[in-house]
């Protein structure tokens, strides 16, 4: 009998929990005004409050000190019209997050994504060209090159919000102690001579990480340099230049020579070294120069504990060139609030909010924002040789350049094999068009 009672009580408890979860709040009848039959003077109808739309903004970059400030400013600025949910950008899983969001049918309204990689979302992103053409003042805030970076098949799919490119940071004291003077530019021969001097002092001359998509920097900068030097840059950007030709060979041989001569930290393990390891070694004074992204340069310099200066990227050809571009935003086609998302984008890229980015030492894409930080000015000066766009690398080719190129160059088939693979990718890319 006792068991039956216990079972019934437990069942009732479970049922009551379930019903509580499903119940709606009960309206308080006292809150309702009592209906009266007497006629009342009708007051003029007050305007109905504007219903605020919910906007999901996948663009909160917490790695930047300015990131939360910018999103907070955006939320404050648009608070009368929109409830903006600022979502933290997960750089390592960005592709995954975006594709999952779009596939779910309920994506974020705005996604942060590098404009140079927009080809992989070209069928899923809203064409922002009409919106830019309809607002010339907004369009004029961006350099043409910045908008070109996010243009695919003649359509502007991405709005840039910050400029980003590869830089080299150097330990100034180390270079001064070794009597090394930094030139305005330097080619491979000059760079090699300096590296030998540093190496003779039992230090590592240079370091480039192989994670975070940085492994391809060496090759990409080298290719830009050799194609600019040979006058084939335009063909290169259109994907018409064979990637098994003299420019590619010169680039890859140059890159390989730096690894072969053990200039790259940590020597034998340079093919798999991570950014965290490089930073640790740089801070410990083991590396003279390290590759870094411009947006992160100030933080790296600040944390170093010694004076850090930007130096030119060595050019594999006669002329220097570095890859880079921008960070940008795109709006997915299946967003439920496209027009509103455009308005939010306009607000985020306005001088008022972009100035917060510049104040903290970063490089906003809005050209109307003045940069006052001296270190950042030095970084921006390196962008004199910035070349954008590069060749139209589609996803598989980009993946190969980021993850397979350096290992195959150094541990696999070498220059010939890599050139063959790159040319296969290029031809596949042409066929896809």
């Amino acid at each position: 009998m006792k068991k039956i009672i216990n079972k019934v009580l437990v069942a009732l408890l479970v049922t009551s929990f379930a019903l509580t979860g499903c119940s709606k709040p009960v309206e308080d009848p006292a809150a309702k005004p009592a209906e009266t039959k007497t006629e009342e003077v009708k007051e003029p109808e007050a305007a109905a409050p504007v219903e605020k739309k919910n906007i999901k903004f996948y663009g909160k970059v917490v790695e930047y000190t300015s990131g939360p400030k910018m999103t907070d400013a955006l939320i404050e600025k648009m608070k009368d019209k929109y409830n903006i949910e600022a979502i933290q950008v997960d750089w390592a899983n960005m592709d995954k997050v975006i594709r999952t969001g779009i596939a779910s049918g309920d994506p974020c309204d705005i996604y942060n994504y590098p404009p140079s990689n927009m080809a992989s979302f070209k069928d899923m992103a809203v064409d922002l060209t009409p919106y830019l053409d309809a607002d010339p003042e907004w369009k004029a805030q961006f350099e043409p090159a910045a908008l070109a970076a996010g243009t695919v098949d003649g359509k502007i799919l991405s709005i840039p919000w910050e400029s980003n490119f590869t830089v080299v940071l150097a330990n100034k004291k180390m270079l001064d102690d070794l009597g090394i003077q930094m030139p305005e530019t330097w080619n491979l021969e000059e760079f090699t001579a300096v590296c030998k001097k540093i190496q003779d002092a039992d230090l590592f001359p240079f370091a480039n990480a192989t994670d975070l998509g940085r492994a391809s920097w060496m090759y990409r900068n080298a290719m830009l340099s050799t194609t600019v030097s040979s006058g084939k840059y335009e063909d290169f950007t259109k994907g018409l230049l064979p990637l098994n030709g003299p420019e590619a060979k010169e680039a890859l041989v140059g890159v390989k020579s730096l690894y072969d001569q053990k200039f790259m930290y940590p020597g034998e393990g340079a093919v798999t070294v991570k950014n965290d390891e490089i930073k640790a070694a740089f801070y410990q004074g083991k590396i003279a120069m390290m590759a870094e992204i411009a947006a992160g340069a100030k933080v790296t310099a600040k944390d170093a504990g010694f004076e850090v200066v930007p130096v030119p990227w060595p050019s594999m050809g006669k002329e220097g060139a570095i890859n880079g571009g921008y960070n940008g935003f795109f709006i997915p086609q299946n967003s439920k609030n496209i027009e509103d998302a455009v308005e939010v984008l306009k607000a985020f890229t306005s001088p008022e909010i972009q100035a917060l980015h510049a104040t903290d030492g970063y490089i906003p894409a809005n050209k109307n924002v003045e940069i006052t930080d001296e270190f950042v000015k030095g970084i921006v000066a390196q962008a004199a040789t910035l070349r954008s766009p590069e060749d139209p690398a589609y996803t598989a080719m980009d993946d190969y350049r980021n993850n397979m190129l350096i290992p195959e160059l150094m541990l696999g088939g070498g220059v010939e094999d890599v050139m063959k693979k790159l040319e296969e990718f290029r031809q596949k890319g042409q066929v896809k068009k």
């Binding site: 069942a11 034998e268 093919v271 083991k286 299946n334 195959e408």
Partner: protein, 298 residues
């Protein structure tokens, strides 16, 4: 008799009612995604446009792709080696701590179990530094004891890269297996050991003829559980080598993630998942057959 039948019937119904929420969660989180994944493996879908039926094309492409076959082999190698190593080490550790009583035993068990409590990504990053050829603990230790000739670029060398990751996985999983085996060893009656001792058997003979046979079901459970977990490993390998250098440590989970979310080819990734599921089930069946044996009641 009718009353007994009614009582057991009522118990069964009550049991099912209480299991219903858990069943719904399992259906939603496991069964439905599995079925959907199998359907997706016969389709071509980029995550945005309408999927199109392609039959067995994804499976044929997967079997023809050398990278898929390589990553499948790497996954099997990693899972089997780390499980075998983890079980052997876990069993050995359980045997060693079994006789430790009181606080010493607790302290040792805590220390040995602590790797299992660490987040895998943190462990991966920690061991990247451990294996660093220039400032890593391993190479510097070898240099300290005069074995500089043995120093290597551990995560880059094709002979050592995967083995280094396997050793980390063993270090991480051995503690859990140790605890499972230790807990089961505790249930063995002391009288069995006493009578064994009277017959002149030492500790390791007791372990060999009494302990291991009696805890065999738990060893099987721990092995199967660990094997399934090791097959699924993504975070450890990704943080340590990202599947590189090249395709040296590329596994199926990494390949699937890349194909689906970088290349936008969800159908192919699902097909890989389907093939992988068959491989995992086959491995588990094989392990169960290998570790089959009698079960003893005591």
């Amino acid at each position: 008799m009718t009353k007994i039948k009614w009582k057991s019937h009522t118990s069964a119904v009550m049991g099912m009612i209480f299991l219903l929420p858990a069943l719904l969660v399992i259906m939603y989180s496991t069964v439905i995604p599995f079925v959907w994944n199998m359907i997706l493996s016969f389709q071509k879908w980029d995550g945005f446009n309408k999927p199109s039926f392609v039959g067995f094309e994804n499976y044929i492409t997967a079997f023809k792709d050398p990278l898929v076959l390589k990553s499948l082999w790497n996954s099997v190698y990693f899972a089997v080696a780390s499980t075998a190593g983890g079980v052997i080490l876990g069993l050995l550790l359980a045997t060693l701590v079994f006789k430790l009583v009181g606080k010493e035993g607790s302290i040792f068990r805590l220390i040995l179990f602590s790797p299992a409590m660490l987040p895998t990504a943190v462990v991966g990053l920690m061991f990247v530094f451990f294996y660093n050829p220039e400032m890593g603990l391993l190479n510097n230790f070898l240099k300290l004891i005069g074995l500089e000739s043995l120093t290597k670029v551990w995560l880059q060398d094709k002979n050592t890269a995967m083995i280094c990751i396997i050793l980390v996985a063993i270090w991480k999983c051995a503690g859990t297996i140790m605890l499972l085996c230790f807990a089961t060893m505790q249930t063995i009656p002391e009288t069995l050991y006493e009578s064994c001792e009277l017959d002149g058997a030492g500790y390791f003979k007791q372990v060999r003829y009494i302990t291991y046979p009696l805890i065999k079901p738990m060893i099987l459970l721990a092995t199967v559980n660990t094997l399934g977990t090791q097959y699924k490993t993504f975070d450890l390998i990704f943080t340590m080598t990202q599947g590189g250098p090249g395709d040296l440590t590329y596994t199926i989970p990494i390949n699937m993630t890349k194909v689906a979310f970088t290349y936008g080819n969800f159908g192919s990734a699902a097909a890989m998942g389907g093939i992988f599921t068959v491989v995992v089930i086959a491995s588990i069946v094989l392990v169960r057959w290998m570790l089959r044996g009698e079960e003893y009641e005591y």
